[in-house]
Amino acid sequence: MNIDKDLVAAMATPLVLAILVEGMSYGYAILGRVRELSEGDVQWTDGMLYPLLHRLERMGYIRAEWGRSPEGRRRRNYEITEAGIAQLAEQRKQWAAATRTLGGLWGSNMVVAGA
């Protein structure tokens, strides 16, 4: 199952922030984590992650600094900030409200037949 493009776009910010709450990370690893978590359901064009990261940085939700990989490759590491943690909490409330609303209609059995 592929998640709809618009829904992926809506998820992107909380998803990235939530991954960064787990610890400092960088683009390629974040994408790997997304793939792992969604078991491939979230299809993301890799290149699109970077403008998003830069936007979050500009808003002050994350901080970036250049570091090196164990193989000595230059990489840009991202770390969540206080503002980012607050933003994530806010988004989390909204997502909880959204799933609760839909859950009310669909009942506790959220699994769609045939999925």
Partner: protein, 447 residues
């Protein structure tokens, strides 16, 4: 796939990402790091280098989509900013220098204005001498910037002094045409002095002269823009003052307008030098827009004039109109080639330029022939000699330009020939305007 080929492909991909300017070098580093990591992971999974590269690039997304997304996030990068980098010492000194010279020009302009109100002087004096109070300041500014040797400073100072003395010792008749001719041509002569200062004495180099031509075009555009802003300022000042102090408006404008106009001469020059490497030159852009339009206009006019002939009511003003026309065409040619990459082959723009120049020459020749045919009716006056002389000077330039452009299109001359011709011709203009200022008035009895 060899390691080297992979590197070449990554390099090409990186160049493509950077092309739109929305992605800067650090972003490209980040994306390239991602690409390389993906490639090594895929290779570790058993793919060949080529397969790994293709899949990694595909996963990153299409280059145009990535750059479009970056452009959305970093829109400012697409607008080159005339950013004033943080003021370090050298820069601050440069700004202070510019500002001091602008203030000197402004003060001198006020001095000239007040002097013109003394009994025994006239508004015409101000009109004639105004450029002597402003342009030498600009020349001095460049002399300081370029650390011109004293020998040169004294030389140029002597030229300016000689001009000032001569123009003011001439018993020019009030309201006479030689007075007006001097007022028009003196700023051009002084602009040549500015050019000598701008080039710091390297007058012989064709390429440096071209720099001054470029500077002049950009300076004119910047000055016009500043003047437009100034007009808005003045308009609003008048509007704001009218209800409270209508009596003071004239006095305020007397102080603001001449000082602003004089100071802006230096400020515009500074701006042109500052932004030289930051922003695309504007004059060639305007030229590219207007060359085809003028080509059409000139072609149609040439056809109409040839078919219909020049009417009976042909008068001497027409020659002035054609002087302006030739000047515009020359400007189109000069600024067209000023932005030309000298290595490039002849293109459509050269054809259009040739059409414009040829049509202008044809038109001008028609006017000249009918003028010469009736020279007896007109007789020579200072105005007519000035207009005719400029016309011939321009015509000679454009005729050779047309010839060289035609040879360029035939593949038998290099673009640099046209450039050399134009830069080499500058002294002819300098000599001509100097003649008009210094020789024409005595020749025609200062009337």
């Amino acid at each position: 796939m060899s390691e080297q080929l992979l590197e070449t492909q990554i390099g090409a991909w990186r160049a493509a990402i950077l092309r739109g300017r929305a992605v800067d070098a650090t972003d490209a580093d980040e994306l390239e790091g991602h690409l390389r990591e993906q490639i090594s992971d895929l290779e570790a999974a058993g793919l060949s280098g080529e397969e790994a590269f293709l899949i990694a690039v595909r996963r990153l997304g299409r280059v145009d989509q990535i750059t479009a997304e970056f452009a959305r996030e970093h829109g400012d990068r697409l607008w080159k900013q005339l950013a004033m980098p943080r003021a370090d010492d050298g820069r601050r000194r440069a700004v202070i220098t510019m500002f001091s010279f602008a203030v000197v020009a402004a003060v001198l302009a006020q001095f000239a204005r007040i002097f013109a109100q003394l009994p025994g002087t006239s508004g015409a004096w101000l009109l004639r001498d105004a450029s002597l109070f402003v342009l030498p300041v600009l020349a001095a500014y460049f002399a300081v910037l370029r650390r011109m040797p004293w020998r040169w400073v004294l030389g140029l100072g002597a030229v300016v002094a000689a001009l000032a003395v001569a123009v003011n010792l001439f018993p020019l008749a009030q309201g006479g045409s030689t007075e007006l001719l001097v007022a028009i041509h003196l700023p051009v002569v002084l602009w040549v002095v500015v050019g000598a200062a701008y080039l710091g004495g390297e007058l012989r180099w064709s390429a440096r002269r071209m720099d001054f031509i470029r500077f002049s075009g950009e300076w004119a555009i910047y000055y016009t823009l500043i003047a437009l802003g100034g007009a808005v300022l003045v308009g609003l000042t008048v509007a704001v003052l009218t209800p409270i102090a209508p009596g003071s408006i004239k006095e305020v404008l007397n102080w603001v307008v001449p000082s602003g106009a004089a100071g802006a001469v230096v400020v515009a020059a500074w701006l042109v030098e500052e932004k030289k490497s930051v922003i695309e030159n504007l004059a060639p852009v305007l030229t590219a827009i207007f060359t085809p339009l003028f080509a059409v206009m000139l072609l149609v006019s040439a056809v109409v004039y040839t078919v219909a002939g020049i009417g009976r009511d042909f008068d001497r003003d027409l020659l002035t109109v054609f002087d302006v026309l030739l000047l515009v065409v020359l400007g189109l040619v000069v600024y067209g080639i000023s932005a030309r990459e000298s290595a490039r082959d002849a293109g459509v723009m050269d054809v259009i330029r040739l059409v414009a120049v040829a049509a202008a020459i044809l038109l001008d020749a028609l006017v000249l022939v009918s003028m010469f045919a009736r020279i007896g009716e007109f007789g020579f006056t200072a105005n007519r000699v000035a207009a005719l002389g400029l016309n011939l000077v321009l015509l000679a330039n454009l005729a050779v330009t047309a010839w060289l452009t035609a040879r360029l299109l035939a593949g038998r001359a290099l673009p640099v020939r046209i450039e050399r011709w134009q830069t080499g011709y500058l002294p002819v203009f300098a000599v001509w305007v100097t003649l008009v200022v210094l020789v024409l008035p005595p020749l025609f009895g200062f009337v």
